[in-house]
């Protein structure tokens, strides 16, 4: 009695989580414009997507910001995670606290505070303001993902290396970084997707000079159903599916020791 109930519950749950996505993907290949009934297979919406220069420009902008933001956040975040793991210092608690606040505070709060910063400093809204904002919200996720991998790691290896005369730099290069690598890559992938996904903060901190995908898509779907958006959404879903699969694989990697 209880088992079929559980199965049914989980099936319903996943149906709810995946049905809208499935319909969206189906509509990307559906020749009926409104998408309310199946009118046969077509790839014309993908052609419409490529031909939409505004959309493509926004896509290039989005990818640029996502790659740069993820890379910078990963560099700063990894260094910080190693330092947090390796050393004791004053203010460590405060630093952890601030990272935690960034992770839990709602996007809208961060959006308002960053806009206040840029306006008060007289920084015009565009690529740079957007980039700084994206790096900021990606940072804690990189720190946490790298730090949690490092803390699962046997410290005696480092002790042994030091006893054998390895310098601090060598320990970092040859032990800590290789160990942390899967989490570093996973942190990059997560940052990349977070950056591509963000609507709320971006709509505050970018200006008309630098339009990015979520904002472009938002303005398009507010008006009505646009099949080119379905095609683009399908590609983006595919991209995130690949990314989440890679990152899960990386995080599952056993420690090489």
């Amino acid at each position: 009695m209880i088992r079929p109930l559980k199965l049914g519950f989980m099936a319903l749950l996943f149906f709810y989580l995946y049905l809208p996505i499935a319909v969206l993907v189906a509509n990307a290949f559906n020749s009926t414009r409104s998408g309310n009934r199946w009118g046969g297979f077509t790839a014309k919406w993908f052609d419409a997507m490529w031909a939409n220069s505004g959309l493509m420009e926004a896509a290039v902008n989005s990818l640029t910001v996502a790659v740069v933001a993820a890379t910078v956040a990963t560099l700063i975040g990894t260094l910080a995670a190693v330092a947090l793991y390796r050393y004791r210092f004053r203010g460590k608690l405060a630093l952890n606290g601030m990272l935690f606040v960034v992770m839990t505070s709602p996007d809208i709060v961060m959006a308002v505070s960053l806009l206040a910063l840029f306006v008060s400093l007289g920084i015009s809204l565009g690529f740079w303001s957007l980039l700084a904002a994206h790096i900021t919200f990606c940072l804690p996720f990189v720190v946490v993902s790298v730090y949690s991998r490092l803390s699962g790691f046997d410290r005696s290896v480092i002790e042994a290396a030091r006893d054998l005369g390895a310098s601090e730099g060598r320990i970092l290069r040859q032990i800590i970084l290789p160990m942390a690598m899967p989490a570093v890559l996973a942190g990059w992938l997560l940052s990349f997707t977070l950056s591509l996904d963000d609507v709320i903060i971006s709509s505050f901190v970018t200006g008309p000079s630098y339009e990015i995908l979520p904002i472009k898509i938002f303005s398009m779907v507010k008006v009505g159903v646009t099949p080119a958006v379905n095609a683009l959404a399908t590609l983006m879903l595919l991209l995130s599916l690949v990314m989440v699969a890679i990152s899960q694989f990386l995080l599952k990697q056993k420690h090489p020791s």
Binding site: Y16, A83, I108, V109, A132, V143, I200, F218, A233
Partner: protein
């Protein structure tokens, strides 16, 4: 040791500088702005005023705020009611199955939430798949209006935020010591009593952090209200955006933002207490 020190201070200094410039300083600024006077030309005048906070009590905004809290609160409750059993079921399957089911939960969490909101809009439309299916199986004769009302907003919030509830719940349920449950059973405790006295207190930190991760973001998701809610179902995020970007009443927008921070502080405090209580209980 020289290299060591330089690397250490560089790494820590970089992160600290970044967080001070882009997190600490801007947030202090928002708190300061919330106590200032709006100004048409300069955005704000540095004159002390609590006008921004008094406006929260203006019936015009108070109703919208309360309705927004209701929408987000109801969505959080639904997430908890669906997420708890789901997390429980996942935590009680085989390790391989757990990994697979968690993967299925995480995939939507990684996919673009705006696109998923739009997908929700497509299926809930008058001629969308939900209405068509209901009509085909004969449950209804004419399409039900499912968009632009509060249930559309709540359904979409649940849809977007459910993974944020399931993941923390899963991790606290998974850590639950199984022998406690067996001991309770052996001592003659019924399932309800076991749940109330053992399971609930021990998973409470997971419940609170799940609620924190659903309720607060839900209040801010203006694009869900824009796409699915219609004029009568605004979230606090919509008001903040309109006040900051359209009406340009910064002190009021900042006061709303500070209100959200205050709610976050209260929930974090509750989380901390639940964690303490749990560890205290386990130590005994």
């Amino acid at each position: 040791m020289k290299v060591n020190n330089r690397l250490k201070w560089f790494s820590i200094g970089l992160l600290t500088t970044w967080l001070v410039i882009f997190v600490l300083f801007p947030n202090l600024m928002v708190i300061a702005v919330s106590f200032m006077t709006p100004d048409l030309r300069e955005l704000i005048r540095p004159e002390f005023s609590v006008e921004g906070y008094l406006r929260l009590l203006d019936p015009l905004y108070l109703d919208v705020l309360i309705h927004s809290l209701y929408l987000a609160g109801f969505a959080t409750l639904l997430c908890l009611l669906v997420g708890y059993p789901a997390a429980w079921i996942i935590a009680h399957t085989s390790k391989r199955m757990q990994a697979f089911l968690l993967f299925l939960i995480i995939v939507p969490f990684w996919t673009n939430s705006l696109i998923r909101t739009y997908a929700m809009k497509v299926i809930l439309g008058n001629r969308g798949i939900v209405n068509k299916t209901l009509m085909e199986i004969g449950l209804i004769d004419s399409p039900i209006r499912m968009l632009y009302n509060e249930s559309a907003v709540i359904m979409a919030l649940v849809y977007i935020l459910l993974p944020f509830m399931i993941l923390p719940l899963y991790s606290s349920i998974e850590k639950l010591p199984r022998n406690y449950l067996e001991a309770a059973k052996d001592l003659g405790s019924g399932p309800l009593r076991t749940f109330r006295t053992i399971v609930w207190p021990l998973t409470l930190p997971g419940v609170i952090s799940g609620c924190l991760l659903v309720f607060l973001p839900a209040l801010g998701m203006f694009y869900i209200a824009d796409l699915l809610g219609g004029a009568g179902n605004l979230l606090i995020g919509n008001i903040i955006r309109d006040q900051i970007l359209v009406t340009r009443n910064w002190p009021f927008g900042a006061a709303l933002s500070v209100t959200l921070i205050a709610m976050m502080a209260v929930m974090l405090w509750a989380y901390h207490r639940a964690l303490k209580a749990m560890q205290g209980g386990q130590g005994r």
